[in-house]
Structures are given as structure tokens and as C-alpha cells.
Symmetry: C2
Subunit: 165 residues, 2 copies
Amino acid sequence: MAEQVPYEELMRQLTAVGVVRRDLARILPHECPAGSVGVLIALKTHGDLRMSKLTELLSVDMSVTSRHVAHVAERGWVERLPDPDDKRSRILHLTDAGRDAITVLSRRTAARLAERLSDWDEADVRRLTQLMARLRDSFDDARASTDPPHSPQHELTPTPANATS
Amino acid sequence: MAEQVPYEELMRQLTAVGVVRRDLARILPHECPAGSVGVLIALKTHGDLRMSKLTELLSVDMSVTSRHVAHVAERGWVERLPDPDDKRSRILHLTDAGRDAITVLSRRTAARLAERLSDWDEADVRRLTQLMARLRDSFDDARASTDPPHSPQHELTPTPANATS
DNA sequence: TATTGTTATACTCTATAACTATA
DNA sequence: TATAGTTATAGAGTATAACAATA
């Protein structure tokens, strides 16, 4: 891709999505924070999952998944069934109560989005959704292939080439 | 807008942006977390700003802005000058060191994005950026006009209309 | 010895509320 | 009395590291 792409602007907009996420998070019940929603939706979409697979889908550390799953399990929305093939593993299963919870959340979220995006046409909503999905895929793929080790996080101070003064 | 818009999918992709943000955050120096970057970029883009204006641009609570600004001020990237028109106010000014820091960060971020989005064409990057900007605007506008009070956050349990069992 | 999952700890971002100092 | 800004506190999300159980 050409060098003169407006990455800085994309970067800014990525940060701006936080505004959207926070606004949507505000309508969630205190019992069901965003992390829980992610788990519930993933299970509704993909069916029963093991912790490892769910972790992969959420693209977070497994310790994070474990935390979120513990939360929804405590509320009876997800069951952690034993895996007959591997006693270390657990199979996560969405309960009926969990399904009901998602229904309520989806309805409420959709209402909020419909309100906020009242002047959007459906085509643009779809375009944005598709592009964001592709963005996520591009990052997931790259992380899976090149990230295994870890990014060292260099220092910021040494900037001889850019010293403007 | 029609009722059958795939809001649930949009919702999922909004969450997925977290993957992207986290990946980009990983290349930031420990001295300059995401919150600091937001402040620096805003000042570079809009020039000198008062706390209140910066807060509006970032769409967060002023206490958050204050925290982030204190961080970058401690590192000499931003100066808090007195406002001659209002002694309660402070004018935020990006220092040369701050400008240098942004240059380094932008370069590093751009490199990461170029790597991740190597198979994207520039038009799609622009399309995505524009749609995200519009999304943010839609939420900012709505918040400004209808949110002043606060969303009550109802309970989740009562779901008579959706009981599947 | 390697892998699945949990837990302890620490850090960032955020909002609410209480506070100071001006207006 | 109202506004600009700071600080204290609390809550959510995340990653790292240490750990238990099983493969």
C-alpha cells in the first residue's frame, strides 16, 4: 500500500470508537458488563465452546476469559460442563436464562443504535460493519503469525532524526 | 431506518475494535499510554486548548482529561499556561518535546498499521476512517442533545416476553 | 514435560463526588 | 450561586506470572 495513507486519521478514529462503546455500555445492566456480553454473544453465535476456543474468538488472554466466564456462570447464564475428552477442559454452554438475557440486551442495544443512527441508511451501516470486521481480521491474522514473542516497547526520548528545535 | 438492520453484528464488530486498539497500544512506550497520545494528537491538531475544550474533543469527563494532561505535563510534552481572560482556566500548549514525541509515535503507529493492513487498498482505509468518524459524530451529537441526565440502567431479569422455556 | 484453566496482582481508562479557586 | 479544574475513590478490562490438575 502507498506510503501516504492517512494512518494518523484512522488512528484517531479508532480511539474515537471509545465514545461509542462507552455510550452503549451505559445502557447495560450493572449485572452484565461488556465483558459478559462478549461471552454470551460468542456462545450464542458459535454454540458450545471450550475456554481455549472462546479465548481465541475474543482475542484476549485466557485469564480474562476465565474471569468473564466466572461472572456469567455465577449468574446462571452459562454452565461449565466437563469435557469427556479432556478432564482439564470445560465446555461452556449457554443456558436458557443466558439466552433470555441476550435477547433483552440485543433489543436494548438495537434500540439505542437505531436512535443514534437514525439518519444513517442501512447500506452505510452494513459497509461500516463489514470494514470493521475486515479490520479485525487483518489484526487477528497478523497477531497469529508474527506476534508470538512480544513487542519490546522501546524508549520514546531518543528522537535525533525529528528534533525540530 | 428499517427495523431489520444488523445492529447485533455492528455491536459485535464494535467490541472487536478492542483487538485493534490493544494491538496498537502494545507498541506504545510505557511513558506514553493511549490516554496521553489522545491529548497530544488533539493539541497537535487543534492548537492550544483549554481543559474544557479538550475535554469536549475527547468526549470524556474532565477529571479524565485532567489526569491525562497531568501525565503529559509531568513529562514536559505539554505546558499549562495561565489564561489571561479567566484565572480559573488554563491554556494547554504542546511543547517542542511534545511535538517530537508525537512524531515518533505517529511513525511507529503508521508502520504497524501499514504492516497490519498491507493487503488493503487506500480507498478502503479512507472509507473506513470516514465511516468511523461519522459514527462518532452521530453518538456525540445524540449525547449532547438527549443525554444530559443519565440512563437509569434497568434490571435484566424481568423478561416475560422472551421466555423461551 | 506440556497444556488447560484459575487466581493473584498490577496497570490503564473511566466516571462520580468532593473540593479549591475563581467568576 | 455557578463554573474551571483538580483530586480521591471506585469499578471495569486487560496482561503477566504463579499455580493446580490433567495429558
